[in-house]
Amino acid sequence: MAIKNTFMKKSARKEARTGYLMIAPLMIGLLIFSVRSFFVNFYYSFTNKSAFGNPKFIGLANYEKLFHSDKFYAALGNTFLYVLLCVPFVIAISLLLAVLLNKGINLTGFYRTLIFIPAVTMPAAIGLIWKWILNYEFGLLNAIIRILGGQPQAWLSDPNYVLLSVSAVLIWADVSLRMIVFLAGLQNIPKSLYEAAEIDGANNRTKFFKITLPMLSPTIFFVTLMEIIGVFQIFDFIYLMIPMNSSGMPAARSLVSYFYEEAFVRNNRGYGSAITVILFIIIFIITMIQMKLQKKWVFTES
């Protein structure tokens, strides 16, 4: 008995040792690159850190400056607008396409293959391609509008249109990615549910609202959260499509664009750190709200 006990203890110790060893590379990396960076960044946000020299502690000055900056409020407002504009469209369109692709009609594979191409393209290239299409004088979109007898617009420099244009590009790029996730979710719904509903005489609409949506609700919630967090960090398309000094920039600048300009173009690193802290707080709050909502709304099998 005593022998067995020490044996057990020894093996448990060995198990714990192996466990720590196997998570060690991950943990060391996370501590150096994430945890340490998180706190250092937080500290920087209270300093006047620039590109060179030692940062000096300046208390809440960066945050004070931030909350008195029109540019910051504009970037904050733009970012929320991006989220409000893009997320519903991305979710609705990708869900619609997934449902259509899941019908098993002819050519489904062909359609899916082509609709998915934007998802394997880097945002940098997507930005350049759309910058050309949306070009005021020579772009494809305005050419089509002229043929149809409409009024060409300065899509990327007119403050009235620039946020819409960037949003459209983001929606275009993200739909193809999210569609695949929804399609996989749809394929996991047991066919027997639909068959049973058919016997009861349910029509397509009823089947969609009573079976598809509830069964897909965990996926929808998860994808929505991912999309919200992703759009909050929008940067690439703005960076590629709109020059910093463009007349469109004030209406397009997102929080991350603002962060990039301050931290790495103007070298106001401390101020840039404060911007990321605000971004973190917003994303943290939204994640918390989403988790709460999820408990309330998501259908779980019991």
Partner: protein, 279 residues
């Protein structure tokens, strides 16, 4: 009665086809326009009314951007970083995932939840300190700077842990009786069974490295150390922009991944779908 039902089903499918065809057109016309423009002369590209087809299909724009920018470096850097990140991340993540799924050690759950909470932090918050770290270590403007911070991915640990948990415990027990240690169980018994999940993680990790723009832009400043994504940012000039050049450069940047996707479509689709699996 039967006839009308048939008709309604067919009509329904016509609508589905129309919507999907519209989606296909919207998805690929930008790419076609990129290709068409890349073969045009500058004069053709700014002609009003616009011309759809290039008068002559010549490669001059490709040759110009190829000579003006170090595309061979861009390709090498992008693929080298991608491959090293994929391999490193798979090793580090799968080991940790196994430990979290199968082994008992003090504070395991607390550590795991702590890792998960890092997923909530927007990555921009790490950038300035990470940049400083790279400069201090003399690693800025190197490929190592592009690789190192990407090796530690909590998301892939989380996904792989889910998959380890679906494998039956009996496998571990049988291996233990045969004298297999914990590491042996991980490496020899469970890991081979996880191949599809590993492929998915590899694709997700490769795609996100492929797409990343901000970090390579910040940490590397000589052109020779740029990835394709960062290199594209160089194509847009300060004052004049010659779009046939920009489109040729864009095509040079996008084709490898699109080709890979055509060759391994099933794995790509499964990989992306994998990212939506929720625990």
């Amino acid at each position: 009665m039967e006839r009308s039902q048939n008709f309604s089903i067919r009509k329904h499918h016509i609508g589905t086809h129309l919507v999907l065809i519209l989606a296909v057109i919207i998805s690929i016309v930008p790419f076609l326009w990129m290709i068409l423009t890349s073969f045009k002369t500058y004069e053709e590209s700014i002609r009003i009314p616009l011309t759809v087809w290039p008068a002559q299909w010549n490669l001059i724009n490709y040759i110009t951007v190829w000579n003006k920018f170090p595309f061979l470096n861009f390709y090498f850097n992008t693929f080298f970083v991608m491959v090293v990140v994929i391999i490193g991340e798979l090793i580090i993540s799968s080991m940790a995932a196994y430990a979290f799924a199968r082994l008992n050690f003090p504070f395991k759950n607390a550590i795991f939840i702590f890792c998960l909470s890092l997923m909530m932090v927007p990555s921009q918050i790490f950038l300035i300190p990470q940049y400083d770290l790279m400069v201090k270590a003399g690693l800025n403007d190197t490929l190592i700077a592009l690789i190192l911070p990407r090796l530690f991915n909590v998301f892939s640990v989380f996904m792989l842990r889910q998959f380890f948990m679906t494998l039956p415990r009996e496998l571990d027990d049988a291996a233990k009786i045969d004298g297999c240690g914990f590491f042996g169980i991980y490496y020899q018994i469970l890991l081979p069974l996880l191949k599809p999940a590993l492929v998915s993680v590899a694709i997700l990790s490769g795609l996100s490295t492929w797409k990343d723009l901000l970090w390579p832009l910040i940490v590397n400043n000589s052109m020779e150390k740029y990835t394709l994504s960062a290199g594209l940012a160089l194509l847009i000039g300060e004052h004049t922009t010659i779009y046939p050049h920009v489109m040729a450069g864009s095509f040079l940047a996008v084709w490898p991944m699109i080709l890979l996707y055509f060759l391994a479509q099933k794995q790509f689709v499964e990989g992306i779908a994998f990212s939506g699996i929720k625990g």
